[in-house]
């Protein structure tokens, strides 16, 4: 077998593992490009978070995946099957392979919980007894035992989203799309729903693609994150890496609420002149962050340093540290070299005259 064929086979095998594969997808609405050449893959069993501000193209992107929206150009493959050329009638069976949950739940008010959950199965042509039995299983799975006969208006927001999740899972989909599913919920309920999604991902091996504007959502359950801005992917990678060392400005600003920030009373005192103390931002993540960084710094850095602010977070079981450290201005270079030797990244944020 020549190498060309081997590579093709390897690619085919890799494709099998990609539940979603987008290549150069474009969609315009009038003069604005909602999607401006998006390429991404979602691997089987992973949770991919797509984050961006409102208007970044997230909703258009997720709606393209089940054919609710059609791209102007580009390729969209679901489980290896190209869907961009499919007509409405061909898309319908495909959509049954893709569950979707929504920000406003979109439960049918005239149907009970079990009827809502069983609806995808009714569409698939299951008998009433079979679909109600399956609905009961799912209602159990999402923790709503005893609520089968209730109407959505009798449920709380969190319970409604649980029904939404049960309904999305009814037809045993290969992929779950989550469209801002927790954005209408309070923080406590959000955590409970995210835990449920993560559980389902683990238990059923379900692939999940979620879009959100909240970094906290990505932080708590996603494996990988893709940052979307003005219809383009500006950054992507494992969540802990993107959180540890965000490159794009959009990512940094989206992360600002969730990572330690230099307190504003210190930021106000920062000057560009090299005087007094230098304030440094130190990022350290992954295996490097589990080492005895401060002990090593103390042992080898004779000029003395001060911890101003910061801490260590744990994302995907990886330590992600961000510290603000003050060192004598003239020792900045020495400190930087040393810290970088231990695997940290150092950024000079400015100087303060005297003590910050």
């Amino acid at each position: 077998m020549n190498t060309h064929v081997t590579r093709q086979l390897a690619e085919a095998a890799a494709r099998e593992d990609d539940v979603v594969r987008l290549a150069d997808v474009r969609r315009r609405f009038g003069a604005t490009a909602a999607l401006d050449g998006v390429s991404l893959t979602v691997r089987r069993g992973e949770i991919l978070g797509i984050i961006g501000r409102s208007g970044a193209g997230k909703s258009t992107l997720i709606r393209c995946l089940n054919g609710l929206e059609r791209p102007d150009s580009g390729s969209i493959a679901i489980e290896g099957r190209e869907i961009t050329g499919l007509g409405e009638a061909e898309l319908q069976p495909l959509r049954r392979r893709i569950g979707m949950i929504f920000q406003h739940f979109n439960l049918l008010s005239a149907k009970t919980v079990e009827e809502n959950v069983a609806l995808p199965l009714k569409i698939e042509g299951w008998t009433k007894a079979k679909r109600l039995a399956r609905a009961a299983e799912l209602i159990d799975l999402v923790g709503l035992k005893g609520k089968a006969k209730a109407y959505p208006s009798e449920l709380s927001g969190g319970q409604k989203q649980r029904v939404g999740i049960a309904r999305a899972l009814a037809a045993s989909p290969a992929l779950l799309l989550s469209d801002e599913a927790t954005s209408a919920l309070d923080p406590e309920t959000t955590r409970a729903i995210l835990t449920l999604l993560k559980d389902i991902n683990r238990k059923l091996g379900l692939t999940i693609l979620l879009i959100t504007h909240e970094m906290e959502v990505v932080r708590s359950i996603a494996d990988r994150v893709t940052v979307l801005d003005a219809g383009r992917i500006v950054e992507e990678g494992p969540v802990w890496q993107v959180f540890a060392t965000p490159q794009a400005q959009t990512t940094k600003s989206l992360l600002s609420g969730i990572r330690p920030q230099l307190p504003t009373h210190i930021t106000r005192k920062l000057v560009a002149d090299v005087t007094g103390e230098a304030i440094l931002g130190v990022d350290i993540a992954g295996p490097a962050a589990t080492g005895p960084l401060f002990q090593q710094l103390s042992a080898e850095f004779a000029d003395g340093y001060r911890l101003v602010h910061g801490g260590v977070d744990h994302i995907q079981e990886q330590a992600v540290g961000r510290f603000f450290i003050a060192v004598p201005a003239e020792a900045t270079a020495r400190f930087t070299t040393l810290a970088e030797r231990f695997g940290a990244q150092v950024e000079v944020l400015g100087h303060v005259a005297g003590h910050a």
Binding site: Q92, R95, F102, H104, N106, L107, L108, A110
Partner: protein, 218 residues
């Protein structure tokens, strides 16, 4: 009131009920699909077709702008073709139904249009076709409004059926005009109005109860 008058009152009530019920059912059977067609073919609808939408809208508006008393007379050839006669209670049902159908279609249209688009999207996303959307989303979600609108239509039909006396259809309105007005029998007039009030209140009460039972929107 004499027993003869009482019998006349009962017969007229029956005629009114027959006219209202029959034309009401016909307007429901034809008006609801028409209302659905209006919503489905509108911009962004599940079967968008602006051309059909405009034509349907124009025809409905045309029928709705003709005063009922004129429609009653103008439709005589149609009535004769369908019922075989242009006089009597059954003959009046044809123009009543033809007047009520576009009226009800507009009422149904409003209820159907108010169904949350997110629900339609959710059912599309689970692989439902247009028929699924109609059967599982549009009709059940709009049902409280559809029933409430039907109640309004029935009450309107009771009013319109009073004019059907013009083609010899009888009914309570006809009784009130011929006896109460033309023969100065005030007691008949008062009795007719009282019966009408009870009839309308009864229908409205039933309609309201049914609407409340069907409404789970919370």
């Amino acid at each position: 009131m004499s027993p003869v008058m009482l019998e006349l009152l009962v017969r007229s009530l029956w005629e009114t009920v027959v006219m209202t019920a029959a034309s009401g059912v016909i307007s429901l059977v034809f008006g609801l699909p028409l209302g659905l067609a209006l919503v489905a073919t509108a911009r962004g609808g599940i079967a968008e077709n602006l051309w059909i939408n405009r034509v349907l809208g124009a025809v409905i508006n045309g029928f709705r702008s003709v005063p009922f008393i004129i429609l009653l007379v103008a439709l005589i050839p149609v009535t004769r073709f369908i019922v075989g006669t242009s006089i009597g209670t059954w003959a009046a049902i044809v123009p009543l139904a033809i007047a009520a159908t576009p009226y009800y279609a507009r009422i149904a249209e409003v209820s159907l249009r108010e169904v949350d688009r997110g629900l339609i999207e959710a059912v599309r996303a689970m692989g439902g076709n247009r028929w699924t959307i109609v059967r599982e989303v549009l009709i059940p979600e709009a049902l409280p409004g559809i029933v409430a609108g039907f109640t309004v239509t029935l009450v309107t039909l009771i009013g319109a059926s009073a004019m059907a006396g013009a083609i010899g259809a009888g009914g309570l309105g006809d009784l009130a005009i011929r006896y109460g007005y033309q023969r100065f029998e005030t007691s008949v007039m008062v009795a007719v109005v009282a019966v009408l009030i009870v009839l309308v209140c009864g229908i409205q009460w039933l309609g309201d109860r049914l609407t409340a039972r069907l409404d789970h929107r919370g």
